[in-house]
Subunit: 194 residues, 2 copies
């Protein structure tokens, strides 16, 4: 079993980062459905450190606005929803439930460096799965790293161990908003087979 | 357009991290095809820092062996191919080609911290796309962070700016090798809507 050409187009070949949105809502059950696909992807010791604040109400959007780079304000304020992807740096508290095979929590409680790296790497991987799941369920994505991380952490995650990774607008894209696609690296520039 | 149930099963719901492999090769053109899907996924300023060494020959596998955690040796040595995912910390050299809209190279050449973070985060995102693309083309994946990163960097990336992120076995999984699936976090444990 492999994906058919239409599915490959949807996920990879014809998908575009989106900056302009149709007037169509992204309802709560769809956000939940995307998460419930993305969470199935593999993480190290099943640690699942990705956390997501879905910013959708006008009040929440206003809380986000001051953290956005100028070029990202309009596309974000007009998006039906914006996912704030974060890594939970206390993800290990869930390990007794998520990885009952071993005392995995003890691998992290003593080491801030291992905890930070595991949280960031695995949450970022999960964000990649999330983008694919969102596209797979018909949404367009507009991921952005142009924002002030300290401001987002202060506005959304104060007093918690969640730390922002990047933002991703979600909605149904207006095809007039696509930029021309930039080039990709060839296999021989990025890969070797030994 | 959304994925049908079979595609969702293939990518997410019925996919398993694999540890035991059928005797079936993973040919070069398939590795190239996976990469050519994965590279289409979004990265910050189109920077595409993911680099991959596909380890397949007995000689290359032996080079990898001393870096593997004990529990990962057998599944890796028997896998048809093992991807060493790495981040190119000199990815910015390609930016004049990849992001011709701006002098994006200058955003990074002065800042080691920004370069490291951009390299690691975006290469990890791309590795997530790669896992989805591999599954979408019918392969099973066995990602692993149980290895000695310094040894892999010394054995594979000496004298280059590539730095290992994690490993991923690739092949056609033997269903007798699945472990029971561990639990996933509920939406309410990992997500909020505001």
């Amino acid at each position: 079993m492999v994906l058919d050409a239409a599915a490959i187009d949807l996920l990879f070949l014809k998908a575009h980062t989106q900056r302009r949105w149709l007037d169509r809502e992204v309802p709560d059950p769809l956000l939940r459905q995307i998460y419930e696909l993305a969470r199935m992807g593999p993480t190290s010791a099943n640690c699942q450190p990705l956390r997501i604040d879905f910013v959708r109400s006008p009040a929440a959007k206003e809380k986000l606005r001051p953290a956005l780079s100028e070029g990202n304000v309009e596309q974000t304020m007009s998006a039906p929803a914006t996912a704030v992807f974060a890594a939970d740096h206390e993800f290990y508290e869930f390990l007794p439930k998520l990885f009952p095979q071993a005392d995995a929590k003890s691998w992290f409680t003593g080491s801030e460096a291992a905890t930070r790296e595991t949280a960031q790497m695995n949450a970022t991987l999960q964000a990649g799965y999330f983008i694919m799941a969102a596209r797979g369920l018909g949404l367009d994505c507009g991921p952005m790293s142009g924002f002030d991380r300290a401001k987002v952490n202060a506005a959304f995650f104060s007093g918690s161990a969640w730390k922002a990774l990047f933002l991703c607008n979600l909605g149904y894209g207006d095809p007039t908003g696509y930029r021309p696609r930039n080039p990709r690296l060839d296999f021989s520039e990025a890969c070797r087979i030994a």
